[in-house]
């Protein structure tokens, strides 16, 4: 409860022009933090991008609370965001608390997307903290009767330089009340940017930014006390399990409720084609989901099967192509990029090479199947979710339940690791649909088979690369086409009913978008054309093979082809693969990061294959790959051991040199890169969604194998290049892109055999070796 004495006090600090409205932030925060806050917001000024109170406040005890409109998918962002805020507002790091991703408490910064947690939102958090400090000094100037030029702020206290006895704390100035200053802004959600009066600190002044800081969520995780969304409970809550067909596209015809009659409290809920069971106890819901007898409509999806998928894709007429666009790369592009004349380049070529590479459908395969809790009542809804996009989730649920958008609140909570648009948005929409129908809070958690078979998939992509070389081996024509399923067949932000399974099963219109994108590597070739083509989805409604973003969507599948193909050109021209790339990359930062990787590895300049290992069964090789995205530069070297008899690949060592501009927290960056090296090695060696004509057959960790201890890279060396003063770019996914090609190129170096299809399972490697 809010205390009466904090409710109606209004203070005008007219001297500063800042209207400060009284409100009990502590009580509000405590409520928000405990149950996500159901209704503690009446007195907080409306959360809008245009007011400072939406970004930052100071509690009566001087604690700074910063409101961050993004979320943490497991990378430990909270520490870095607190560093940015502490740095600019001048309080110790421990005195900054971060509230993340609550659609009612934090400004929409787009949620987690494209590794822009710091790139986009970092400047917002810094600027609003700096503006708060500027205003606090102005307020202090009036109260202390000292000119602002004589005032500094240190550790949450404003004091006079001339007379240190003249001092006042932030808490005394504004604690428990709100900054009411305006914040000029442009854009919205993931394009939101602000521009305040206060200047930002220069890198030479940094005391907190750039320091290794521990993760704040770690103790709660290690001692088993941190509540994740799957641990969240409400009074009177029901447990639900969804029922999915065994043939894709089938819908329920008859449901035999008597088949679960002996399970205490179990009940069937059917809303159009959406089918679920609920029970008071979770185990009874699980049992009922297993026992329920359903007859399904006939459905013949005629999926091409995962074995024949690439034949299907090659033959498919593209639904959409990248728009024609000039320019030489840079950002990952909605359009392709083109320079010069391909036709002319190929006409002059002394030699033409081409190659096709294949990257499979992959599952997010979150460690925990998705979970969401919803409480729909009184014409509104509150949902608890670990989706990366809580604002879109709220909008999507409003659309699904036909509620006014302002009546739906999505509260983000920690959850299973998230690598883009996984199944979280689906589970919470299911929970909302059920809660509305039953008039009680509902918790949905998927079973393992749903987490693999029904999550939105990373699209399968074929890359076709062609190069024309002149007599000296120079690349004078370069053409690349990525042909694949859409990155937006299933929207990356579940902002409409049509973007979730619950919506699709209850009649929402189809909202499949055809777009792929392409990496923005900066190689400059005289005549080049890089583009994409999208093929039609395999099923248009409630498909288990819906495709969407999966970590590093503009990198991984494309770069596998591009960076393997450059290696092939290096082999054909007997060039060192690093030297070859350096010839076509022009910027100093790119050369620096590549040199740093080579130095750390101890790279000796030579061409591949290694050719000195005779007929040994176990052979060693090294491979290089490079990527650039959003001004983050990554150079990766893999060293592998290939067992010719079994086809097994061991990763002996992986080196990653990484430049993402100014580093905020070297501790968490190093860890997030290290973990990416393992994750993407797993995707490269093991992961492929299997499916037959009717349905996905990857339903557990045996049929969708992921990396385990024996296969992780034995040594991972990370070299961080810090760039003080250069804008933070991103680090959450950028190191993934080069890994498939780095491993494939290393296997070639070891064996002279080129791997053109991911995953590099032992069977496939063995088959490739025996063909050679």
């Amino acid at each position: 409860m809010l205390k009466a004495n904090t409710l109606d006090r209004r203070t005008f600090l007219s001297a500063t022009g800042a209207l400060v409205v009284a409100i009990a932030t502590r009580a509000e925060f405590a409520k928000a933090a405990s149950v996500g806050g159901t209704n503690g917001l009446a007195k907080r000024p409306p959360v809008t991008p245009g007011t400072l109170s939406s970004y930052i406040s100071i509690e009566p005890d001087g604690m700074v609370v910063a409101y961050y409109g993004k979320v943490d998918g497991g990378q430990g962002l909270e520490s870095a965001i607190a560093q940015l805020v502490a740095e600019e507002i001048n309080v110790p790091w421990e005195r900054v608390r971060i509230v993340m991703g609550d659609s009612a408490l934090t400004v929409n910064m787009g949620g987690a997307t494209a590794g822009n947690a710091i790139r986009q939102a970092g400047p917002i958090m810094r600027q609003t903290a700096a503006e708060a400090r500027r205003l606090l000094i102005e307020m202090a100037s009036k109260v202390l009767n000292v000119p602002t030029s004589d005032l500094v702020a240190t550790d949450g206290v404003v004091h006079s330089l001339a007379d240190p006895s003249k001092r006042i704390t932030y808490a005394q100035l504004i604690g428990g009340r709100h900054f009411d200053a305006a914040v000029p802004f442009t854009g919205k959600a993931q394009s939101l940017a602000v521009k305040v009066q206060a200047p930002l600190k220069q890198p030479s002044e940094f005391k907190v930014i750039g320091k290794p800081m521990p993760r704040r969520d770690m103790p709660g995780k290690v001692f088993g006390t941190l509540q994740q969304v799957s641990d969240f409970r409400l009074p009177n809550m029901l447990h639900a399990r969804t029922i999915r067909p065994t043939t894709a596209g089938a819908v329920p015809v008859t449901v035999d409720e008597s088949s679960i009659a002996d399970i205490p409290g179990a009940k069937v809920v059917r809303i159009k084609d959406f089918l679920a069971v609920v029970a008071e106890k979770e185990w009874n819901a699980v049992k009922a989901a297993k026992a329920l007898k359903v007859t399904w409509s006939p459905s013949k999806p005629n999926f091409p099967t995962h074995e024949k998928l690439y034949d299907h894709m090659r033959k498919a007429t593209p639904l959409a192509r990248s728009p024609e666009r000039g320019g030489g790369g840079g950002e990952e592009a909605a359009g392709g990029h083109a320079t010069g004349s391909l036709e002319e380049g190929f006409k002059q070529a002394a030699r033409i090479m081409q190659a096709e590479y294949q990257y499979p459908m992959q599952s997010h395969a979150s460690m925990g199947p998705a979970c969401g809790v919803a409480d729909v009542r009184d014409g509104g809804a509150t949902v608890w979710t670990s989706t990366q996009k809580p604002y879109d989730c709220a909008a999507g649920i409003a659309d699904l339940l036909e509620l006014p958008p302002e009546k739906v609140r999505a509260v983000w909570m920690f959850g299973t690791g998230s690598y883009a648009r996984n199944d979280q948005g689906d589970a919470v929409a299911d929970a909302a649909l059920l809660s509305e129908h039953l008039g009680r809070p509902v918790r949905v958690q998927y079973m393992r088979h749903e987490g693999l078979a029904w999550d939105p998939k990373g699209p399968a992509i074929i890359t076709l690369s062609r190069a024309g070389l002149d007599a000296s081996g120079k690349i004078i024509a370069y053409e690349h086409v990525s042909k694949g399923f859409s990155n937006n067949d299933c929207s990356t932000r579940e902002a409409r009913a049509s973007d979730t399974l619950a919506g699709m099963l209850t009649g929402a219109p189809i909202n499949s978008q055809s777009a792929l994108g392409i990496p923005g590597n900066n190689y400059i070739f005289d005549n080049m054309n890089v583009r994409w083509e999208v093929v039609a989805p395999l099923m248009d409604r409630a498909s288990p093979l819906r495709t969407t973003h999966l970590r590093d969507p503009f990198g991984v599948p494309h770069l596998f082809g591009m960076e393997s193909f450059l290696d092939e050109i290096a082999v054909a021209t007997q060039s060192d693969p690093i030297e070859l790339r350096m010839r076509y990359l022009k910027s100093e930062r790119e050369h620096d990061v590549i040199r740093a990787a080579a130095k750390q590895f101890g790279w000796d300049t030579r061409s591949s294959p290694r050719n000195t290992q005779g007929s040994a069964n176990i052979v060693m090789g090294r491979g290089f790959a490079y990527r650039q995205m959003h001004d983050t530069f990554v150079a990766t070297i893999a060293e592998v051991k290939v067992h010719r008899d079994t086809g097994m690949i061991e990763i002996e060592r992986m080196v990653c040199a990484h430049d993402c501009g100014q580093i905020v927290n070297p501790e968490t960056i190093k860890h997030v890169i290290d973990r990416q090296m393992v994750w993407q090695t797993g995707r490269t060696l093991f992961e492929e969604v299997r499916f037959d004509e009717n349905m996905v057959t990857s339903v557990d960790w045996l049929t969708y194998p992921v990396i385990k201890m024996p296969s992780v890279p034995k040594v991972i060396d990370i070299v961080l290049l810090d760039r003080p003063g250069i804008a933070f770019s991103g680090a959450a996914e950028h190191a993934c892109g080069p890994i498939p090609a780095a491993i494939g190129n290393a296997v070639f170096d070891a064996t002279g055999v080129r791997l053109r299809r991911v995953p590099f399972t032992p069977e496939r490697v063995k088959a490739a070796l025996s063909k050679a």
Binding site: P219, G224, E282, M367
Partner: protein, 155 residues
């Protein structure tokens, strides 16, 4: 038929009413007793997210019937140690900043703690062997090995 069952969890007795003796222990811990930590990952014993100790042994609670453990000593991650009195592996885990999302953490720490109890100074190969059948989707494998080594080096 509903029956009462007393479970000894983290040193305390808890009596619950169950209507299915085959219900996995995981659901008793989470749903009946409100524990936050052992998690549902697969329900198939394939991943380890639900691991607890039963009489000191790391066991996957998603495939362990609750009726089989009534007289046994059950320890969860929260009972292994606390912020005030941490297990040495928990201390090492924080010092190594092992996790990303930590959904898998019960499997790794409870398996590692069991290893250290029977083998206080395991080799690198022994640690990797102990962890061979666990899943971590975020890729924290090598960091977990380091944490065990760090804990093993503690007095």
């Amino acid at each position: 038929m509903a029956e009462n069952l007393t479970l000894n969890v983290d040193g305390k007795p808890h009596t619950i009413t169950i209507d299915d003796p085959k219900m996995p222990l995981l659901y008793a811990l989470r749903d009946e007793l409100g524990f936050h930590n052992p998690r549902f990952g697969c329900g198939l014993g394939q991943c380890g997210a639900c691991t607890v100790h039963i009489d000191g042994q790391a066991v996957r609670s998603c495939v362990t019937p609750v009726s089989a453990v009534a007289k046994r000593k059950i320890t969860t991650l929260a009972g292994l140690g606390t912020q005030e009195k941490p297990h040495k592996l928990q201390t090492a885990w924080i010092e190594e900043q092992v996790n990303q999302c930590a959904y898998c953490i019960n499997g790794w720490i409870m398996t590692g703690a069991e290893l250290l109890a029977r083998n206080p100074h395991p080799t690198d190969a022994e640690i990797r062997e102990a962890f061979a059948d666990l899943i971590c989707r975020c890729g924290t494998h090598n960091a977990a090995v380091k944490a065990v080594k760090r804990a093993a080096g503690m007095a």
